[in-house]
C-alpha cells in the first residue's frame, strides 16, 4: 500500500526497528510501569537508551553530557509515569521530555538562544545552539577527519535542523516514524528534512566535495 505525496507515492513499510510495533511495545511497557512494574520500565530503558543517547548528542554535542541527559530524561519519565495517559503513544511523549531536558541543560549553560522566525520556512520558533569549542574532550581521537568536518558543520545548524537530521541520519528512521515522533505530517517531515540538509550542505561547502562528484 502506498500514500501519495505531492503527486508521487511513498512507500509504506512493514514494521521496522522503530515502527508501530516498537511504539506499541513502548506504550505497553510504560503502561505497565505506571502500574508499578519496574521490570517493564527497565525493558523500556534498554530498548530506547541508544536512541535517546544519539539524539541527545545531536543537540548537546558532548557524549558525556548526552549520557547524563538521556539518563535524566528516563528518570523524569519514570517520575512522571502517573501522568502518562493509557493509550497515548509513548515515543512522542518521551521525545518531548528528552528535548526539554536537553534544552534546559543548554539554557543553563547559556548555549541556547532564540532564532529569528524569518529564518525558517514554517514560521515556528526555533533555537540556535552555541557550542563550546571544548565540548568534546577526547572525542577527536575517535573521529576521522571527515567526521570532524561533519560535526563542525552540524553544530552550526539550529536545534530543529539537528533534531530532524539526527532522527533521519543517526536513527535511520523512516519518514512515517519521524512524523510519529515529532507529531507532524509526513509532508512537513520532507520539507524540514530537505531544508535542514540544504543548510548542512551549505555549511560543508568548500570543506568536502558533496556536489555530486567524488567525495
Amino acid at each position: 500500500m502506498s500514500v501519495p505525496f505531492d503527486g508521487f507515492p511513498l512507500k509504506r513499510r512493514a514494521d521496522g526497528e522503530y515502527g508501530e510495533d516498537v511504539e506499541a511495545r513502548a506504550s505497553a511497557w510504560m503502561t505497565r510501569a505506571k502500574q508499578g512494574d519496574e521490570a517493564a520500565f527497565d525493558a523500556l530503558t534498554q530498548a530506547l537508551r541508544e536512541r535517546a543517547l544519539r539524539l541527545a548528542q545531536g543537540w548537546v554535542g558532548s557524549r558525556e553530557d548526552a549520557l547524563e541527559l538521556a539518563q535524566e530524561a528516563f528518570l523524569k519519565t519514570y517520575r512522571a509515569r502517573d501522568t502518562f495517559r493509557d493509550g497515548e503513544p509513548f515515543l512522542p511523549w518521551f521525545h518531548r521530555i528528552l528535548r526539554n531536558t536537553c534544552y534546559s541543560f543548554l539554557r543553563g549553560k547559556k548555549r541556547l538562544t532564540p532564532r529569528s522566525l524569518s529564518a525558517h520556512e514554517e514560521g515556528e520558533s526555533d533555537w540556535d545552539i552555541v557550542d563550546d569549542t571544548h565540548a568534546e574532550p577526547g572525542a577527536a581521537l575517535e573521529q576521522s577527519e571527515r567526521a570532524q568536518v561533519f560535526w563542525t558543520a552540524f553544530k552550526r545548524l539550529s536545534a530543529r535542523d539537528r533534531e530532524i537530521l539526527a532522527l533521519r541520519h543517526f536513527e535511520e528512521l523512516a519518514y512515517a516514524d519521524i512524523a510519529r515522533a515529532l507529531e507532524i505530517p509526513e509532508g512537513t517531515v520532507m520539507s524540514r528534512l530537505f531544508h535542514a540538509r540544504a543548510r548542512l550542505r551549505r555549511a560543508l561547502e568548500g570543506k568536502l566535495d558533496l556536489d555530486g562528484g567524488t567525495a
Binding site: 505525496f5 508521487f8 548526552a66 581521537l141 561533519f150 519518514y175 540538509r197
Partner: protein
C-alpha cells in the same frame, strides 16, 4: 526571508535516496536518472551526505566501550603480553613435539600416524592462509570494524 520551497524533483531525489519511494515511483525515477544528468548529480550529492552522516554518527554504547578499552594502557599491555606468551609457548611446544617425534622411542605405528596428522594440519593451515592472503584485497568487509 523564508527559503524557497523545494521543487518536486528535489523532493523525489531525496525520497529516492532515503528509500521512501513506492516501487512504481522508484522505477519511474530510475528511468529518469538514466537520461537526466542533473538529477543524477543531485542524487549523488545526497548519497555522499548520507555516507558522511553515517560515518560521523555517534557510536553506540558498546562500540564506544570497545574503543575506550582498546585505548587503555592496561588493556593494551595485557593483550600484547598475552599474545607474546602464547606465541612463545606454542613455538616451544612445537619444537618439543618435533624433538619428541624424532628422538622418543615410539613404535613406528604411532610415530608415522602422528607425523602424518601434523603434516596434514600444517598443509591445511598453509592452504587456508594462502587463500586468505590472496582474497584479502578483494574482501568488501576488510575495513569493517566493530
Amino acid at each position: 526571508m523564508s527559503p524557497p520551497a523545494p521543487s518536486r524533483d528535489e523532493l523525489l531525489a531525496m525520497a529516492f535516496v532515503d528509500d521512501e519511494l513506492a516501487p512504481e515511483a522508484r522505477a519511474e525515477f530510475e528511468q529518469r536518472l538514466a537520461r537526466e544528468p542533473a538529477l543524477r548529480r543531485e542524487v549523488s550529492a545526497l548519497k555522499d551526505l548520507e555516507l558522511l552522516a553515517r560515518e560521523a554518527a555517534p557510536k553506540e554504547l558498546v562500540e564506544h566501550e570497545w574503543a575506550a578499552l582498546a585505548r587503555e594502557p592496561a588493556q593494551r599491555a595485557a593483550l600484547g603480553l598475552g599474545a607474546t606468551l602464547l606465541v612463545v609457548g606454542v613455538l616451544a611446544l612445537a619444537t618439543y613435539g618435533v624433538y619428541f617425534l624424532i628422538e622418543a622411542p615410539l613404535p613406528p605405528l604411532l610415530r608415522w600416524p602422528l607425523v602424518t596428522v601434523l603434516l596434514g594440519g600444517a598443509f591445511l593451515f598453509g592452504a587456508v592462509l594462502r587463500a586468505r592472503l590472496r582474497t584479502l584485497p578483494h574482501d568488501p568487509y576488510r575495513h569493517v570494524r566493530r
